[in-house]
């Protein structure tokens, strides 16, 4: 009995021991991650990752086959490359040959085969890092830079061209984390610029074959950059010089365009101008004279002497070139007359003269146009125009050397020579021709209308009484021309002279008459306004130039105010002057801005002028013996 129990016990013990011994043991796990690398395309090494060993000592073996052969070889060297590696020496390494490699793990419990791997040595090249890396800081104190040089790894045969390597350098400041990488191609040296003054750099180099993997980075080489300054300073100097240069150019440009810039920034503000204020007078500083001209002392007119209103102002065009001829008194007109007309014949009125100041079309068309235009535009002059016309005609007569000064009949004829101008047409305005040239003059003209009220004129204009008018043998111009007949003018000569002195223009030119617009355009004559100073006995009218300023002949419409138009020419002697109010509408045509002012000032005189005209009519009849400017005896409206 005991023996059986012992046997059973022993049996149980053996079983137990056997069980205990087999517990935890298992075949090894499969080796994985086989990777092979060749540093120089002459040898290569494979590494694997072992699996579990199953608790038992496990051995690993690497077997390989070469393409085209079934023969299996085992790794010749497990040690050189370390644990779990296999090193293939030159003898067993062939290029352009596929290796089929398998790793087998073996322990007492079993084996494990890894997955096979195919490799070709030429595709798995990973060189060693470059060697002998040398970093130098150049001795140049102003512009230091790093000079890096290295050598290829020893085993890589680049000399024969078996291996072609490309290099790369990276550097960073010692205390920073960011690397800067620079490619060096196949060269073995490199220069690095733009260094931080006083910094310490770490430099590393690595290489890569033409078809392969990058090597590891070489160990860091440290270098310290010395301190340097001039580099930055010179840059600042350059910047300052450049900025100064640009500033100089900018200032110069502003200087060259100063006026346009100023005009752009500070546009000129049109200054106010008041009609009737003579600038020259202002400058002379005689305030009394200035303001006296503004004052219409006789408004409303206290006297019933309507003769005062008979003073009318005619606008006389004077050619530009005669402006300068501002002689005193009569000579002025003489010159103006002479210079102006060219081929006028003896008995020619204005119309027959070939002067350029006359209507270009001596036919009625122009005149008609002129008339029409006058109606539209600035025909304010018409009021005084009738007077002025007469004056002008007189002037023309004077201008002609063979003009007979006292030939009022001629004047009459002259007037007749312009039938369209004077006779039938109801409205006849001379204004278009007499466009005052510059706005200034126009304004002055306009203003002068208001200014030169009959009452206010006395200082400048003589207001001929009826008797004196009649005694006025010839108009002013005639007298001046012939140097005759100046006697009647003497009383007023002073005034005339005074007036003339104020005139810039030669009043003589009377071409303005009825000139159509286009003629007017042609004639850039300043128009002068003349006041009928006196009415000569024989229907002559003494005209005084009133306005000193010249007006641009082109500006047709400005003198609308206060001009009396020639309404019609009586058979005998007269020009019917339009009432001023008829011309009022044209006042608005006054082109000049200042006209507005003047208009306002003129309006009061309208009424006066109206009356004046009415009264003037009979006188006209008397005076217009020759139909010429005798009508200039018109009175009335002080236009300019």
């Amino acid at each position: 009995m005991k023996k059986v129990g012992e046997v059973v016990l022993l049996w149980l013990l053996i079983l137990f021991i056997q069980n205990a011994a087999g517990e935890g043991y298992s075949p090894p796990g499969k080796p994985t991650n086989i990777s092979c690398r060749s540093p120089e395309k002459e040898t290569f090494t494979c590494w694997w990752k072992p699996g579990s060993d199953g608790g038992l000592p496990t051995t690993y073996a690497l077997y390989y086959r070469k393409e085209g052969s079934q023969r299996v070889f085992e790794c010749p060297d497990y040690k050189t490359a370390g644990k779990n590696s296999c090193f293939f020496s030159k003898n067993v390494t062939f290029v352009w040959v596929n290796y089929n490699i398998t790793v087998v793990a073996t322990n007492s419990r079993g084996r494990a085969f890894s997955d096979p791997v195919d490799i070709d040595v030429v595709y798995i090249v990973k060189p060693n890092p470059p060697e002998e890396v040398v970093v130098n800081v150049t001795e140049d104190k102003d512009w230091p830079f790093l000079q890096v040089s290295w050598k290829p790894p020893k085993m890589a045969d680049t000399r024969s061209g078996w291996i072609t390597l490309f290099y790369e350098v990276r550097l960073k400041l010692e205390n920073k984390n960011k690397w800067e990488e620079v490619s060096a191609g196949q060269r073995k040296t490199l220069q690095i610029y733009s260094l931080r003054s006083g910094g310490t750099y770490e430099v590393q180099v690595r290489c890569k074959p033409d078809h392969g993997f990058w090597s590891e980075w070489s160990p860091s080489s440290r270098v310290k950059v010395p301190e340097y300054f001039p580099q930055e300073r010179s840059m600042w100097i350059l910047i300052v010089v450049f900025a100064a240069f640009i500033l100089v150019i900018f200032i110069w440009m502003v200087y060259m365009n100063f006026h346009s810039v100023k005009r752009y920034l500070l546009p000129p503000v049109p200054g106010p101008k008041i009609k009737g204020i003579d600038k020259q007078l202002l400058k002379s500083g005689k305030s009394e004279d200035i303001f006296s001209s503004l004052v219409v002392s006789d408004f409303p007119p206290t006297t019933s002497n309507y003769e005062d209103f008979l003073v009318q102002y005619l606008e006389v065009y004077v050619p530009e070139e005669r402006e300068l001829i501002m002689d005193e008194g009569k000579d002025l007109q003489d010159d103006s007359f002479k210079t102006e007309n060219s081929t006028c014949d003896n008995d020619s009125g204005r119309g027959s003269c070939d002067s350029h100041t006359l209507l270009t079309d001596k036919g009625g068309g122009d005149k008609e146009d002129g008339q029409q235009s006058d109606q539209e535009g600035s025909q304010a002059e018409a009021d005084t125009k009738s007077q002025e016309e007469a004056l002008e005609e007189e002037l023309l007569a004077c201008s002609h050397e063979n003009l007979q000064s006292s030939n009022i009949s001629n004047e009459k004829e002259k007037v007749k020579s312009w039938p369209s101008l004077f006779s039938p047409l109801p409205q006849y305005s001379l204004s278009p021709v007499n466009r005052p040239n510059p706005p200034k003059t126009g304004q002055q003209h306009c203003l002068s209308d208001s200014l030169f009220t009959p009452n206010s004129m006395p200082s400048y204009f003589t207001q001929p009484g009826p008797s004196t008018r009649k005694g006025f043998r010839s108009n002013y111009w005639e007298c001046s021309f012939d140097h005759k007949q100046s006697h009647p003018l003497h009383p007023q000569s002073a005034a005339h002279e005074h007036l003339q002195a104020q005139n810039d223009l030669n009043t003589a030119h009377v071409d303005y008459m009825g000139a159509p617009l286009d003629v007017h355009v042609l004639n850039v004559r300043p128009s002068e306004y003349v006041e009928v100073q006196r009415v000569s006995v024989e229907d002559g009218v003494l005209l005084h130039p009133i306005s000193p300023s010249q007006e641009d002949s082109r500006t047709l419409s400005h003198q609308t105010e206060d001009y009396s138009r020639v309404r019609m020419v009586n058979n005998d002697n007269g020009l019917l002057l339009l009432q001023r109010d008829a011309i009022e509408e044209e006042k608005s045509m006054c082109p000049y801005q200042e006209d507005v002012v003047s208009r306002a000032s003129i309006t009061p005189t309208l009424q006066n002028s109206v009356t004046g005209i009415n009264t003037a009519l009979p006188i006209l009849d008397e005076m217009a013996a020759s139909g010429y400017i005798d009508t200039a005896t018109m009175f009335g409206l002080p236009t300019h």
């Binding site: 002459e42 393409e67 062939f94 596929n98 089929n100 030429v122 045969d157 680049t158 196949q186 078809h211």
Partner: protein, 199 residues
């Protein structure tokens, strides 16, 4: 030896020509490598042959050095001849690959097709350059081994066969392009006596 004789006379032009030729062969090999990678990216591994058998390449008959010592012992003329032979051997297969790539049952076939066309262009220009170079090196350099491609224009009928064949051809091309590149680079360094810094 022949090359040395000519090297002194025409050192600069030959060197420059070799440099340019090796650059072009380098480009060719890079393209073929990209092609194989592109093929493998979508190619199901199970359908692929376990191991492409480069020994079955149509150019395997050509004896080429297997290690560095052997390679460095080959003369320049032979190296040139080997390179030109290999290059010539791939003219026809590249055409077959080009036509097959258009209808290749592969998602990246357009990219593959364009790369193959580029390969053909490089191959053509490299061949012209090597013709000029070999003319400077003598008759042995101009000898070309005839390596006909016998695979036919048709790669197969079914998708797996076509893809396998395509893969196989690309692997052969990859290797042969690497050989050409290596030979020319060895030649380049041999002729670069004036520019030793490159080698």
């Amino acid at each position: 030896q022949y090359l040395e004789a000519t090297r002194t006379e025409l050192a600069v032009p030959v060197n420059d020509l070799l440099d340019r030729a090796s650059q072009r062969s380098d480009k060719m090999h890079s393209l073929s490598t990209l092609l194989t990678q592109e093929m493998d990216s979508h190619f199901p591994p199970y359908g692929r042959m376990q191991m492409p058998r480069p020994a079955d390449c149509h150019t395997s008959a050509l004896q080429t050095p297997n290690d560095k010592e052997q390679a460095l012992q080959v003369s320049e003329s032979d190296l040139m001849s080997l390179a030109r032979s290999l290059l010539q051997a791939w003219v026809d297969p590249l055409a077959v690959l080009s036509t097959s790539a258009i209808t290749l049952p592969h998602p990246s076939k357009s990219s593959i097709s364009s790369k193959i066309q580029e390969l053909q262009e490089h191959s053509k220009s490299l061949g012209d350059g090597l013709d000029i170079l070999s003319g400077k090196m003598g008759p042995s350099a101009q000898a070309i081994s005839f390596l006909p491609y016998t695979g036919g224009t048709d790669l197969g009928q079914d998708r797996v066969t076509i893809l396998n064949k395509f893969n196989f051809l690309l692997s052969c091309l990859r290797r042969d392009s690497h050989k050409i590149d290596s030979f020319l680079k060895v030649l380049r360094c041999r002729a670069a006596k004036l520019q030793p810094e490159l080698c």
